[in-house]
Each structure stands twice: as structure tokens, then as C-alpha cells.
Symmetry: C2
Subunit: 162 residues, 2 copies
Amino acid sequence: MSRAVPKRPSLKAPPLPALEGNHSKLIGRLAGFEWKDVPLEAYKSNTETWKGITRRELVGKRGETVDFHVRYFEIQPGGYSTLEKHEHAHVVIGMRGVGEAQTGCFIWKVSVGDVVYVGPSDPHQFRCPQGASEPFGFLCVVDAERDRPIPVSGLGVCRICE
Amino acid sequence: MSRAVPKRPSLKAPPLPALEGNHSKLIGRLAGFEWKDVPLEAYKSNTETWKGITRRELVGKRGETVDFHVRYFEIQPGGYSTLEKHEHAHVVIGMRGVGEAQTGCFIWKVSVGDVVYVGPSDPHQFRCPQGASEPFGFLCVVDAERDRPIPVSGLGVCRICE
């Protein structure tokens, strides 16, 4: 009989991690752009300045010790975020469809994998063109500690050229 | 002759933004997973503990005022990151292919759009399986101020079950 080879402890299949808490976890994406147990939220409670946009808080508000929040936003065709400004910067990464990012008076086309940096106090808005074949979805990473946005009107959006 | 309608100033086509600086900018993705003007970097200078992995610094190291850094890593089939730990947490978002994230003694399969949170001081490693049809690419967001990683051996990786 051959000598038994000591068995190396096998690595375990992952348990279902709790979404809440500061432990390592997988926040698994389901079909489409939904994540297990992550609720769909309204973009903002005030609905006067935006249209057709939803928010999912992925990381940063459930006990995780990071200096930033990661959110997923989705804008339906014809929808848009509030035209606003704030001192904190935004980092946006396209994940689905094609949209537009306006910063000041410039408009960038944003496709999957494109990265947009919105500098401090630049008025900005994200939009999904009317007639787009699918929503415009993007990750948005922001500092955990940040100032509140201030809506701006269509005028005075660009401190460079106005 | 009809009266001329005052022309509304048109929004401008975006200029090519400088990659360096704290202004709004688009960091455009080119074909594949490359970004305009963003250099491909070695994952680490010490090559003893990792294999087949590259890094691209997307946001946070070029004058941007954010409390975090956004990086894109890509691991070739059969490659892996250093098995290591640190006090700061990681947020990883799958962008290309399928890979594995080991945290402690658990292994998660990570596909596009899946989010992994690596909790403080959990030993962890990212891998692309040998024979995978494409590299495993992911975004990794970390605090701008963070402690240095400490490599760990194959033993003692899990403070929960060892």
C-alpha cells in the first residue's frame, strides 16, 4: 500500500457574504446591471431638475472603511442628471451604453470604459440621448466627505468662456 | 426680411484635455483596454511574488483633488498578484474576462461588473486562471493615503479559520 500523502487543506467555496459590514465580500452582478441585494434608489428626492435616472450604492455606505463611495447610476434615453456644481470632484466610468457628460460648456461623449474627471466647482450634467437604444450606465466615485451640490441654471455654466 | 433670431451660443466640441491637472477631462478608452496617453506600467518593481500583471493609473496621481486613486489592472492567463495584506481596504470591479479573488481562504469568481470589497488586513490575491481565453481586467479603487502592502506566505492567510 502506498503511503498516504498528507492532504493540503482545500480552499473553501465562498459563503454568501453579508452586504452590510466591514468584512471582505463579493457584491455580485446579476443579469443586466443589478447587484445582489443592492436596492435601486431614486437619484434624488427632488424631481424638478432631473429625469429618468436611478442610483445604486455599491460600496462605502455599509460599514466599509474607505474614504470614497462607489455608486452605479443609470439614465434612460432622454433622461439627464441635475445641472449642478460642487467643490468635490467626480470620477465617472462608463459601464453601459453611450451618454454625454457636460462639464462647463464642453460636452464629452462617454462610452463603456471611458473615464470622466469632473474638476472642482465645474458645473456638469450627465445625459442619455433621446432615441438611444439602451440606458447610459456609469460608475461614479466620490470622496466620502463632500459638500452638497448646488443646482445651476443654463447660464453661467462655464467659468472659462462666460 | 424676417427678423433675425438671436443665436443661442452653441456648446462646443470638446478640446483634447491635458491628462495632467485638476481640470475636467475625458480619459478616453481606445480599442481594447487602453486609455489615451495613460502609460502601461509594471505592477510592481519586485517581480518575485507576482506574474503577468500590469497597471494603469487612471485618476488620482495627476493633480486631481480626490481622496482616492482609480487604477486598471490586467492579469494574463496563469498570472497572479502578490498574496499580501494591508490595513487599507480595496474595491475591485471586474471589467474584462473572468478572474479569481482570494480573500482569506475564500475564493470568489469575478466577472464583468462584479464588485469585490477586500476588508482591512485580509490577505488577498487576484488571479487569472491558466487557459482563460482572455486576460482578467479590473478597476481597483483605493484610498489615496494608505499603508504599504506586506506579502504573506501561503500559510496564515486566514485569520478566521486558522
